[in-house]
Symmetry: C2
Subunit: 137 residues, 2 copies
């Protein structure tokens, strides 16, 4: 396949989670609230986000192994090795993470969000609204 | 922010949609079925995907304008300019697309999926399962 595609981090996670071992496997499995701190260069892109909004944060798992193609789901060796495209493993060819969160508060370039399983320092590369019904778009 | 992050395309879209103008704004707004053709290097990662699976394809909108920070939603100039992180605009700092589709058929390195609004040739960078209830993970 031709051409590498270059992502630029637009923000970083500030979280009490310091290591992968501490992080739950999914946000709804006990992950703590966290902050996302954005870069000045994307201030205008953030401007309309407000408390109560449900968004999808896209992260880059910068401590992942990109050569992994199969994993035992949830690290359980009794489960068969499964192609990573059928799992949410952070180890995968392009280590992107999807995190559905609710915005709790905004403060300039900072967003406070609930239940984020990404660890401290994780780059954030995009934010998207959760889409409602077609009639509300 | 430090360090660029490099995505490697793992597949490409084969679609009857040739231009952005032809593409609906979201997959559930009349987008056609399409194929995704994967690279040999990720065969093992694909292996467990099967017809009926609901997945999220992550694409790279390679014809986007990355300098755009605000847009008029749905191109409607009567709506106020809105930060792109509150929209699904393909024009955004990191032009990633999220596409929730159902797999209709698999054929080696090819997946046939329903309702994909990405246009022909669009790079695919990741595939993730739609997560069910915690008890099913």
């Amino acid at each position: 396949m031709t051409g590498d595609l270059v992502l630029r981090p637009v923000g970083r996670v500030e979280s009490s989670l310091a290591t992968r071992e501490e992080a739950p496997r999914q946000g709804d499995e006990g992950a703590p609230d966290a902050w996302v701190v954005f870069d000045e260069s994307v201030r205008a892109a953030l401007h309309d986000l407000a408390p109560g909004d449900e968004v999808i944060l896209i992260s880059w798992f910068d401590r992942s192994d990109r050569d992994v193609l199969t994993v035992h789901p949830r690290g359980d060796l009794s489960r068969p090795a499964t192609g990573v495209f059928s799992t949410r493993s952070p180890d995968r060819p392009n280590p992107l993470g999807l995190h559905r969160v609710t915005i709790l508060a905004t403060d300039g370039l900072r967003l406070h969000v609930d239940h984020l399983e990404a660890i401290d320092g994780t780059p954030i590369v995009d934010v998207k609204p959760v889409l409602g019904d077609i009639t509300e778009r």
